[in-house]
Subunit: 321 residues, 2 copies
C-alpha cells in the first residue's frame, strides 16, 4: 500500500512528502521513505503530528489534542450545571482506545470542589465493574448526584475491552478490532448496570462520538498556532536542512514550546500512555500534575461557570404544614 | 404542587416571583399567580422565557435557542469535514420532542453546496422509513456520502414516536411519555436500518444528548445579551408597572428585537412549531427562509470552514500499472 504511494510520488517527480496524522500515519511516512531509499530516489519525507489522542511518543503533546480537550472540558462543565439542576448519574463516554488523555481532560470542566466529573476512568488502569459501582454509590451518596467520564477504550484486568465484556453484540473491523466509536452502546450498558445494581432512577449517558474530534466551535488558539508551526518546521527541515523525520513538540516553560526532529523509526507505531503521576492512586481520577500539564493547551478565553452566593434563607414552613 | 410553591412564597412574604423556563414553567407561573389572586395576596408573577426548543408561542425566538443552535450548527460543520475525510453515512440525533427548530439549525453547518447535512428530519413532518432510505440512497449515490440530521422526536404518519416503532424496549416516564434523551437508541436503530437495507458499510451515528443544551464553549453573544434583557424587562414590568405576564421577543429588523409582555394564559402550555415556509416540500430539509431567520441568532464569530482550491493534477499512473 505504501509502495503504491511511492510509485505515484515518483511518477509525478514529487521530491517532498509531508503527511499529517498520528501513529499509523508516521509509519506510512517511514515506509514510503524506505522505498525511496531502496530506489536511491532523492526524496524527503516528514511526518507532521496531528492526533486528538495525544499519544505520540517523544512529544509533550500533539496538535489536535488541545482543541479536543477544550471540547471535552467545556462539555463536562456544562453537563455539570445541567446535572446540578436535574440530579442523577451522568456518564459521558469519551474517545480513546489506548490512551486516556482526552478522557482525563474532562477534569478541567470542574471549578468548585463539588463539581463533576466526580470519577474518571482511563484505559491505563483496569476497569472493574465492582469498584465502578462502589465509586458511583459513594459519590452519589455524598453529592446527591454523580458525573462520570469514561474512556471508550476501558479494559478489564485481562486487557479485554469492557464493551465486549458487557455484551456479545459488537461490530468488528477487518483487523478484528472491536468498533468502539459511532455507537452509544458502552454508555447504555453502564447506565443499565447503575440502574440495576444501585437502584438509582435518573441515569443518563452521552457518547461524545465524532463531535469531540471535529467540533468547529471551540478551537484552542494555542493548539491552532502550534498546528501551523509544526507544519512550518516540517517545511524548514525538508527544504533548508534536507532531513527526514517526525516533528515533536517539547515544552520549555509555562507555557512555551520548542520543536524537534525525531527519527521516524522512534515514533512510528508507538503509543504514549498517561504517565503514572497523572492518575490518582485509586485509578478513578486525575492528579493536579495533569491539570497543570493540560491547562495551557486549552488556550485563551476558556469559559468558566459562576455561582450566586446569596445567604441561605431559613426555613419558615415545615414540610408537614 | 404549584399550591405548595405559593404557600412557601406567602410564608416568606415574597411579593415577586420570577420564574425562568419554557412552556411548563410558564404554566407554573400562571397557576401560582391564580393562587395569589384567590388569596387576594398582593403579588406579581412573571415568566422569563428560556428554552433551547424555541417553541414558545408569540415569541420570534427564545433565549437559549441561539446558543444551542450554534452548538448544533458547529457540530455539523465539523462532522461534515470528518465525513469528507472518511466517507459514509452519518446520522446526528438532535433534541426536540415536538418542534424541529434545533434540528433545523444543523443546516447552518453547511457552507459549500455539497456540504452536509444533506437531509434534515423534523417532528413537524411524518417520518417514513421508506422515504428515509430512498433519500439516503439518493444522497449517497450523488455525494459518495450522506449526513443526516434527525430530531429525537420524529413521528410516523399516525403520530407515534419512531423510536417506539423501531423497538419495543423503551423507557417511559411517570406520565407514560417515551424517554427520548439520554440514550443512543434512535441513532443506533437508524444506522442498523441503513446498513441492512442499503448495504452501506460505514454507517455511524451520534446522539448529541445533553451537550447541545449545556455546552459552555460556544455561547452566542446575541443570545446571551437577550437572555439578560428579558430578565431586566421582567423586573421592569413587575416593579415599575405592577404587571404579571410572560416576556416575549419580537424581531424588529435584521437584526434587532423588542420585548413585550404577554398574558400568561396566552403562552402557558402552548407549543410553537416550525412554520411551513421553513420546511421544504419533501419534508427532508429546511428553506432559505429558515436560514435567514436563524443566522443572526448564532451571534458573532461563528466559525466557517475553508477549502484549498489548488488545480487538480492530471493522472500519470494508471491503476493497472
Amino acid at each position: 500500500y505504501c509502495k503504491e504511494i511511492f510509485k505515484v510520488l515518483k511518477a509525478h517527480d514529487v521530491r517532498y512528502f509531508f503527511y499529517i496524522g498520528g501513529n499509523d500515519s508516521s509509519d506510512t511516512v517511514r515506509i514510503v521513505n524506505e522505498q525511496a531509499q531502496l530506489a536511491e530516489y532523492e526524496f524527503r519525507a516528514i511526518h507532521i503530528p496531528k492526533t486528538i489522542d495525544n499519544d505520540l511518543v517523544l512529544s509533550d503533546h500533539t496538535p489536535g489534542y488541545g482543541s479536543a480537550a477544550r471540547f471535552v472540558a467545556s462539555a463536562f462543565a456544562g453537563v455539570n450545571l445541567d446535572n446540578r439542576a436535574l440530579p442523577g448519574v451522568y456518564i459521558g463516554v469519551v474517545m480513546g482506545r489506548h490512551a486516556g488523555f482526552l478522557t482525563a481532560a474532562s477534569a478541567l470542566g470542574q471549578k468548585y470542589p463539588d463539581d463533576g466529573p466526580h470519577l474518571i476512568y482511563m484505559p491505563e488502569r483496569p476497569f472493574s465493574r465492582d469498584s465502578f459501582l462502589k465509586d458511583v454509590k459513594k459519590a452519589y451518596d455524598h453529592y446527591g448526584r454523580c458525573i462520570v467520564a469514561v474512556s471508550e477504550g476501558i479494559v478489564d484486568e485481562e486487557g479485554k475491552p469492557m464493551i465486549s465484556k458487557l455484551t456479545k453484540n459488537v461490530e468488528r473491523d477487518a483487523h478484528g478490532n472491536v468498533q468502539l466509536s459511532g455507537t452509544g452502546m458502552l454508555g447504555d450498558l453502564l447506565c443499565d448496570l447503575v440502574r440495576d445494581k444501585l437502584k438509582i432512577k435518573r441515569v443518563r449517558s452521552d457518547t461524545f462520538g465524532y463531535l469531540q474530534r471535529s467540533f468547529l466551535g471551540c478551537v484552542s488558539d494555542v493548539d491552532q498556532r502550534e498546528a501551523r508551526e509544526v507544519g512550518e518546521r516540517a517545511a524548514h527541515y525538508a527544504l533548508w536542512y534536507n532531513l527526514d523525520g517526525s516533528i515533536s513538540i517539547q515544552r520549555t516553560g509555562y507555557y512555551s514550546v520548542n520543536y524537534q526532529l525525531e527519527k521516524l523509526s522512534d515514533v512510528a507505531r508507538k503509543t504514549r500512555h498517561m504517565p503514572d503521576n497523572f492518575i490518582n492512586a485509586e485509578g478513578n481520577n486525575v492528579t493536579d500534575d495533569f491539570r497543570y500539564y493540560l491547562r495551557p493547551l486549552l488556550g485563551s478565553g476558556y469559559p468558566v461557570s459562576h455561582r450566586l452566593r446569596a445567604p441561605k434563607v431559613s426555613k419558615v414552613l415545615r414540610t408537614e404544614d
